[in-house]
């Protein structure tokens, strides 16, 4: 699911990183996304096995343009919902290491069915 999430975010045309992976001396791009897999837990069970899993990710966008931060987060929400992800609300502020950038994030969920026989 991580690969699928990344491929969707990349449709916006901005760099995508795992949260925390930018080096201390690495410059922030003007606008970029980050993600973090909070958890992946069993959704329900059948015959002693997980019948589904719920993936929880944070998706964050940072930019020197505050308007872009707001609009890109909502665009990502639209794209992900269209792809079957579950998202509520319109996000939350996230902290930036650089004073030049602001950021907003949103928690996104995906229920993956266990198709193993």
């Amino acid at each position: 699911m991580k690969d699928e999430l990344i491929s969707i975010i990349e449709q916006r045309g901005f760099p995508v990183y795992q949260q925390g992976s930018l080096g201390e001396d690495e410059a922030y791009p003007d606008t970029f996304f980050t993600f973090w897999n909070n958890d992946t837990y069993d959704g329900n069970h059948y015959d002693g096995k997980a019948a589904s899993w719920t993936w929880s990710f944070d998706v964050n966008v940072y930019s020197t343009d505050p308007d872009l931060v707001n609009s890109e987060l909502l665009e990502i929400k639209t794209l992900l919902i269209a792809a079957g992800w579950i998202i509520g609300g319109k996000g939350h502020d996230v902290a930036s290491d650089e004073i030049s950038h602001t950021g907003r994030g949103i928690t996104v969920l995906y229920r993956e069915l266990n198709r193993e026989e």
Binding site: G20, G88, H92, D93, V94, A95, S96, D97, T107, L109
Partner: protein
């Protein structure tokens, strides 16, 4: 927490009400329990309200236990206690149609900004960034989830028994 037999599981920070997290009611058999409770007017809502309040208390207590000097970054040298003051200690169950939720965690305003660092990290720091040890697990950890499920099951089944359903 979201308690609804109809909506998908949701985990949102809450538009206009910026808190760290909202927990949900979800366990196997929940849909059937709500169906049974619906035979008595108001029962589903009343029991859901009770379940959300008690699990809010459970998670809030676990968060408070984390905030000790030894758990803080730098052994609490820079700990002001401001973040703990923003902890939502009162359960405020909110209903929106058939969906109920209760905010848990910290108010994201004022000193609560620190909690953003703790749970979301930054592009250069993985979450939880130099977090109070155990804070993430107190809210989202497997053990907390298990305890919440057990508490919710206990409440719902107990109320079902009382109502003879």
């Amino acid at each position: 927490m979201y308690a609804t037999p109809m909506a998908e599981i949701q985990d949102q920070s809450g538009e206009g009400r910026r808190v760290m997290a909202r927990a949900r009611v979800e366990f196997e058999g929940f849909d059937e329990i709500i169906r049974r409770l619906s035979k008595v007017e108001g029962a589903a809502e009343k029991v859901t309200d009770k379940a959300l309040r008690e699990t809010h208390a459970l998670v809030t207590h676990k968060i408070q236990q984390v905030f000790t000097t030894s758990n803080m970054p730098a052994k609490g040298r820079y700990w002001t206690g401001d973040t703990l003051e923003t902890l939502r200690r009162d359960a405020n169950v909110e209903w929106n149609g058939s969906v109920a939720n209760v905010p848990v965690g910290f108010e994201i305003k004022g000193a609560g900004i620190t909690s953003i660092f703790l749970t979301h990290g930054t592009p250069r720091h993985k979450p939880p960034m130099k977090a109070a040890r155990g804070l993430y697990d107190a809210i989202f950890g497997a053990k907390t989830k298990q305890e919440v499920v057990e508490k919710q099951q206990e409440i719902f089944y107990s109320e079902l028994a009382k109502l003879g359903l």
